[in-house]
């Protein structure tokens, strides 16, 4: 029989990019595509200790049903960790354990969005968030963003053009895809606008701890100003992505709704995984582990920046991120990143064309480059090959 899917699904299609990137899993491909952490940095030996520890200490409880809100000890540990890093004042009772921060995005859509509600976001913004929200059929309103973050005057203008603005989705630290970090002034100004217009801010912060120069500015959730901020975090980028454990922090009146909606989505997040992470946090020094990750990624970022400087043709510009996993390159007007990808793949080099990160499309001349997943010498080699492809394309256009 022909399955009669919901009309809502019309907004959701298999990403051609994702299909394309399937081939990047072959070992000969130098991939600047995914946002994966480097597996050689996982604390495997420590985790082996943790696995036995949890089961000996907790017994069968580590495998039983648990509450939708999550393991109380883990919620407390997360609140403590965040409050010491971000200057926030989260209470354990306001932390909801999610099955990765992707679930935090999905639940946000389910809690807040009806058809044609407006979601305001940076332009460009995180692809996974676009897809999560798109399932609830909102209208995306892109707000122009520069190197200091979202532009407040543009935000006001965008809100003025909205009919039912609901959510403001932002990644203020080492943003995916651009690597940009918002200045403190911008943080205050955007929060102020959100408060004035009654917008709920979704602050997505997977990369805040991956800072390679200076310090990460304060989280929006830690700043005064009366705006409502829901803060999403995850262990995927600083620990192991396969565990699928993230969290969100929300004010009480919203927290309850998230819990109800999560209960309908998957009852709760794997009890075992929650216990394992908690035991790791208690027994080992996650900050030391993050420091090791930071050191490796910083060197990889530097390797990529050096290679770009020497290999990319004039007319191509890029961001210089102070943290995170990505940088963002802009090709001369009229040069297609999609075309560049097709040619780069012939040279076994992959990246993600930037237009996917604009909910309303366009910007065909942009590209996202990940620098965390490849060793330095492969970064140099890959950028050299990519540079050759781009020189050819730019020259072709000039001629």
């Amino acid at each position: 029989m022909t399955a009669s899917f919901a009309r809502r699904l019309n907004g959701m299609k298999a990403s051609e990019i994702r299909e394309l990137l399937k081939i990047t899993q072959q070992p000969e491909v130098i991939s600047f595509g995914g946002g994966l952490p480097a597996p050689e940095l996982f604390p495997i030996e420590d985790l082996k200790v943790v696995m036995a520890d949890v089961l000996d200490r907790e017994g069968p409880r580590a495998l039983q049903y648990s509450t939708t809100e999550g393991h109380p000890g883990l919620r407390e540990a997360i609140a403590r960790h965040l409050n010491s890093k971000l200057g926030t004042a989260f209470e354990a009772s306001g932390i909801l354990i999610t099955s990765g921060s992707q679930q935090g995005l999905d639940l946000s859509g389910k809690v807040f969005l009806d058809d044609d509600d407006e979601v305001l976001c940076e332009s460009p913004t995180y692809l996974g968030a676009i897809n999560a929200f798109r399932a609830y059929r909102p209208r995306f309103v892109e707000v122009p963003t520069d190197d200091d973050g979202m532009v407040p005057a543009e935000l006001d203008r965008a809100i003025a053009g909205c009919r039912r603005p609901k959510l403001l989705y932002v990644v203020p630290n080492f943003q995916n895809p651009t690597g940009r970090t918002w200045s403190l002034e911008r943080r205050h100004a955007v929060l102020d606008a959100a408060a004035r217009h009654g917008l709920v801010v979704i602050e997505d912060d997977p990369y805040g701890q991956l800072c390679y120069e200076g310090t990460t500015p304060p989280a929006l959730a830690s700043l005064p100003g009366g705006a409502t901020v829901i803060y999403l975090g995850t262990f995927s980028k600083i620990f192991c992505p396969g565990m699928r454990v993230g969290w969100l922090a929300a004010p009480p009146e919203i927290y309850e709704k998230y819990t109800l909606v999560k209960q309908g989505a998957d009852l709760h997040t794997s009890t075992l995984a929650q216990h394992q992470i908690l035991a790791y946090l208690e027994r080992f020094d996650i900050d030391a582990s993050i420091a090791r990750i930071r050191e490796v990624y910083r060197r990889r970022r530097d390797a990529m920046l050096r290679a770009l400087e020497s290999e990319f043709p004039p007319g191509v510009s890029w961001t210089r991120p102070r943290g995170g996993l990505f940088l963002w390159a802009t090709l001369p007007e009229g040069v297609s990143a999609r075309e560049a990808l097709a040619r780069a793949l012939e040279q076994n080099v992959a990246f993600v064309p930037g237009s996917s990160f604009f909910p309303n499309g366009g910007h065909e001349n942009t590209m996202r480059l990940n620098f965390s997943n490849m060793p330095e010498e492969r970064i140099a080699e890959g950028i050299a090959r990519l540079g050759a492809v781009l020189r050819e394309l730019c020259a072709g256009r000039a001629g």
Partner: protein, 502 residues
């Protein structure tokens, strides 16, 4: 709307309700136009009589804070006199910000129930969980602690949205033992079957669509469908499950998008749909081109009689989407279940899942795969079946011994539950309160119906408590039922009466 009742307070309950609603309105937390829950629903949720809520609403109406509109319910009245304090930091109007889907998740019943059972000393007959002492902890412990030696970082990395490839193959093999031929790419791993219900709702249902459910049905499914803002049409059941003879007229009249059924050891009724009805159901699904969502958590837990093939096993046309879970067989906290469906549907589930949570915990999938591959499931299942059969018999014997007049049940051949019809006149709200006082919990039958139930039922679980707890729990509960029989409170009678409109 958060309202808490303090039964130890000297303030009458109707005044407690009126006071709290008044506060919510005057502080602006319930905005003008906010629709209050119908009296009956609020009464049910709070465990008070409908007349109590009625009086509370009357007070609020007299204060001109709320107003009743025929067809639209009771709403907060707009008031120019409502105090506004511009200098005070205004709280966001949350009710207006939440999406409409959230209103489907309002039912606080389950949460309240869990809180009741957390009282020390209460015997839980309300759960739907396997007995932890019967689960193979030592074997799983060895697998979990050894998995990283085998896999290295792979068990900590992202894995495919559809599930680990090895696990999908193992599950396809397992399905062969359940009489279902399927290929690994027709299998999708889920974080429990609740996720399967949620994804099915996302994929198939738009607001206003119709879904057919059994009357009664699984409470978690009803909540998920309500959250999807669909119309639920209940098909009556008898001791043999869904009345497929009634289903036909439902299908022709309502043209539903989905038929949701739990045909084997149903939750809550414990019934098994006989073969002829299964075939009838499948024939109707083909004739009306409506897919069946078959939920099958319990079929492996049969304590007597011959197995009946699943709908999926009987369905050559691919109309059946088959959901199952390990939460009733192994440890539920691992959150692992699966879907068997045509490739196109699996693909669509995977796409929806990409946006929902990417994939299930990778390490848990490795461990489950090793456990199933190790051939340990067979021994484990034999052991739990024996234990659960004894528990079932203990519950049956305890109910017989109590011999409460008018209390009717059927001994289930498998699964986790006894479904008992209460004697006429026992008020469901009063019974719940009395049972909590007596230190025993159960699931009130009302929660399992898409609309008004034909009678009052309770669901009793026998898998989680041991035989001694079962005997004691049933004794406490039947004692309370006996006391309540024939003595419905005035409030319950009032609540059940209809006031003439004059």
């Amino acid at each position: 709307m958060e309202i808490t009742i303090d039964r130890s307070s000297r303030e009458p309950i109707y005044q407690q309700i009126a006071r709290q609603v008044r506060d919510l309105i005057t502080t602006g937390k319930l905005p003008a136009g906010f629709r209050l829950p119908p009296e009956r629903r609020l009464a049910q949720a709070l465990g008070v009589s409908r007349s109590t809520v009625l009086i509370a609403y009357q007070e609020l109406r007299a204060d001109a804070l709320i107003d009743a509109h025929v067809g639209r319910g009771t709403m907060v009245t707009p008031s120019e006199a409502a105090p506004t304090h511009p200098e005070v930091e205004q709280e966001l109007p949350w009710r207006q910000l939440f999406g409409a889907a959230v209103s489907g998740f309002q039912d606080p019943l389950v949460g309240d129930l869990l809180r009741l059972t957390e009282r020390a000393g209460a015997i839980p007959l309300s759960f739907g969980m396997p007995a932890p002492e019967l689960l193979p902890f030592a074997e799983l412990r060895d697998l979990i602690t050894g998995v990283l030696d085998d896999t290295g970082p792979a068990a900590l990395l992202h894995s495919p949205t559809e599930g680990l490839t090895v696990l999908r193959a193992t599950l396809a093999q397992m399905m062969a033992a359940r009489g279902v031929g399927c290929t690994p790419d027709e299998v999708l791993v889920l974080s429990g079957s609740q996720q399967g219900l949620d994804l099915a709702a996302r994929i198939f249902l738009d607001p206003g669509d119709t879904v057919v459910v059994e009357q009664p049905s699984f409470i978690g499914a009803l909540q998920t469908f309500r959250g999807a803002r669909v119309r639920l049409i209940g098909v009556p059941t008898d001791e043999h499950g869904m009345r497929t003879d009634v289903l036909e007229s439902v299908l022709s009249r309502f043209r539903p998008k989905l038929i949701y059924t739990l045909p084997t050891f149903q939750n809550p009724s414990g019934s098994v749909l006989p073969l002829e009805r299964r075939q009838h159901l499948l024939a109707l699904s083909r004739r009306y081109q409506v897919p069946i969502l078959e939920d099958d958590p319990y079929s492996e837990l049969r304590y007597e009689g011959d197995p009946v093939p699943s709908l999926r096993a009987l369905d050559p046309a691919g109309n059946v989407l088959y959901l199952s879970t390990f939460s009733k067989l192994l440890f539920p906290g691992m959150r692992l279940g699966f879907l068997v469906a045509p490739r196109l549907v699996v693909r669509q589930f995977a796409l929806a899942r990409q946006t929902a949570d990417l994939h299930s915990n990778t390490l848990g999938q490795w461990v489950l795969d090793r456990f199933l591959q190790g051939g340990r499931m067979g021994d484990h299942m034999r052991a739990v079946r024996q234990a659960y059969r004894r528990r079932r018999d203990a519950m049956d014997a305890a109910l017989r011994e109590a011999a409460v007049p008018g209390l009717v049940w059927q001994r289930p051949q498998g699964g986790f539950y006894f479904w008992c019809r209460l004697p006429a006149g026992v008020g469901p709200a009063a019974l719940l309160a009395r049972a909590a006082e007596a230190g025993v919990s159960y699931l009130p039958g009302r929660a399992c119906f898409a609309d008004e139930p034909p009678a009052e039922f309770i669901r009793l679980n026998f898998s989680y408590p041991d035989e001694e707890q079962i005997r004691e729990g049933v004794a406490r509960l039947t004692g309370v039922i006996r006391q309540e029989t024939g003595h419905p409170s005035t409030a319950e009678i009032q609540a059940a009466s209809t006031r003439p409109i004059v």
